[in-house]
Symmetry: none
Subunit: 215 residues, 4 copies
């Protein structure tokens, strides 16, 4: 037997609140979206972190944003080896089936995954080096970002690594033939963002000078 339990009542209450407000206000729109299907314009790849919800930041309405969330909002390189690649599957579906026109990588401050990567690469987290560590192996994707860090104090370097994570993902996205082709012919635009949780700011990646600047 699957040991699943009923929804806790604090969530049932919230669901009923949503149903009486947001759903009630947008009932017919939800019905149309169910019947006609979604037509999102933007895909966002964001972190699982509970402090960063792009649905809130961009007022993501029903049907507008296709959202993949994983640890540190990382995209692996193109690797069509027949294995399971959840992030690559999400990108493939959004780009080729839904034909989204904008793809945003959204990093953020105080990212636990990036911090773990920093510690691991600095030799301070041997448990993340173990083969069985899913977080460690996932954060291996960010090793090239760690290698690219300039010297400096730790806080500065961890901050910089959060931004490197966005750049690594943007670079990896371009290794997907169906992404590169559409970026090249203009059907798809890529965007890199970094959210400062404490200040409520967005910094956008500027390809011209390879820097992040406040939006």
């Amino acid at each position: 037997m699957i040991p699943a339990k009923p929804l806790p009542s604090f969530l049932t209450q919230r669901f009923e609140g949503w149903k009486a407000t947001t759903f009630a206000e947008n009932k017919h729109w939800y019905k149309r979206l169910a019947v006609e299907g979604q037509r999102p314009r933007v895909m966002v790849i964001s972190c699982c972190d509970s402090r960063v919800h792009v649905t809130s930041i961009f007022g993501a309405e029903q049907g507008e944003f296709f959202i993949h969330r994983n640890i540190a909002s990382l995209v692996p390189p193109y690797q069509p080896d027949g294995e399971q690649h959840g992030t690559s599957a999400a990108v493939e579906y959004a780009v080729t089936a839904l034909q989204i026109t904008n793809l945003i990588i959204m990093g953020h401050s105080r990212c636990g995954g990036v911090r773990g990567c920093y510690d691991m690469c600095s030799g301070n987290a041997p448990e993340l080096e173990e083969k069985s560590s899913f977080v460690g192996r996932w954060m291996d994707l960010l090793r090239p970002g760690f290698e690219a860090l300039e010297d400096g104090d730790e806080a500065t370097r961890v901050d910089a690594l959060e931004k490197e994570a966005v750049k690594v993902s943007l670079r990896n996205l371009m290794t997907f033939p169906f992404v590169a082709e559409r970026v090249d012919d203009g059907r798809l635009s890529l965007h890199g963002l970094w959210n400062d949780i404490a200040e409520g700011e967005l910094h956008g990646y500027n390809a011209a000078n390879d820097r992040f600047v406040k939006v």
Copy 2:
């Protein structure tokens, strides 16, 4: 050079709206969350679909929900082979580092990923069988769900497959030692949900009779 572009202006306006309202109202809370770190109580694994945002359905406040979103909200089985498993990394981080107490798998109606799996397993989507299809290989995870379907008309079977997807994921979750251990000693509860987009309803998985019932 990374071919990234500035954020489109329609998103800048929305961000400014969030900053002037949600962020302004919760400024000090955001600051504390940044300094003290997140302490989410619940992890939700949900679909990328633009019509189903758990942040909306559960009024996800800043810091409360750790959210992983992938195609069809699938969890693969435990496979510590040193390869990259984004979903497993998210589960590991949520359960062992953040010590969340509730883990929800949230499926939904009209799921494009589940539909693709149904077509593939029925022999009607040969392109998804190709080794290079990320979506196809990802949806392989749901093959046991397809095998378990009862006879019936197509619409009924596709609906049923959406619910099998939730059950497959719950079962796979229990193959992770750190999940099973905490479910067994009561530190962690698992929950299966299915969202009917058109009706705005949640159906919860009832382990006792192996059925989904309206919340």
Copy 3:
């Protein structure tokens, strides 16, 4: 021969600016909207006034808002007499063909049309009473609003008449069978707004107490 002239160069320059920025950024989205058609969610009936652009206030993106603009954002009562009713045609198309789910009437401060109506009804604008005055005849629609005004000084009464205009239009909308039917069964929501140009504020009509309150 039709005495039309080429577009003035100050507008050509602006068009080229749009093409190099907004269009270039959203090229593929425009193409999809052209091929797949529009699916706007909201209709707005707004004034022609050059100081009130809902496209700016709501960041109206390509494909989202179906917008009718006339003098004083008035809706006439349902009158299927075989004559030309441009506003009724726009409402009919939006509600029955496009199936929009929200219909907003947007009035505003310092409205020249409303002022003209006030002067006409007060006996101070005889030229607007002439049969040949298109503005006068159009503003006849607002006479019931003038009748409903409370005593007071002129400035207060003109302000109040701007808000009566929104209410007259909302009431007239309900005389259209295809509107009333959808409002009754929940497929369509009506909203009344009044924009204070100088203060940049929106006031929403609150049906419960028959007043406008700041959004």
Copy 4:
């Protein structure tokens, strides 16, 4: 009671974004416009279509463009019969009260109203022939355009009808004495445009050879 509802929250967020940016940046200008009144230079008559916003195409700043939008951007002939003519009222107000110097008729590709007219005149949309069809009666204005079409395949003829709509409106404008008089003495210029949504192009009506050419 008027069954109006509060503004949906997704629009509130967007309004707050506008207030924090566009309004904040132009606060004093808005105040002056409120106190001194509008002084628009151009009137545009455009379609309600959600894919064609002249405010975007011409970067319509606060106070510059007086905009009337109706189905297919049609202008009826001069008919001072004491009935309500919303479009004629807007033209009268713009030309005689605001004394705009340029009046633009803006048509566009993939126009649903024009398509309806084509089907109706071809005998394929009997429901639009009914007396109670507001869209049908409104599109009667374009019947002379349909009569003027050359033979050819359907796609070419529908395209041509979109341009005929602009010409019909320009011709009808000249039946208004206050328009003709000002066009004749040079105080007012008329312009005909057609916007290709997919290509982001404007085609201007050239009276000399009765053709539309790319701006």
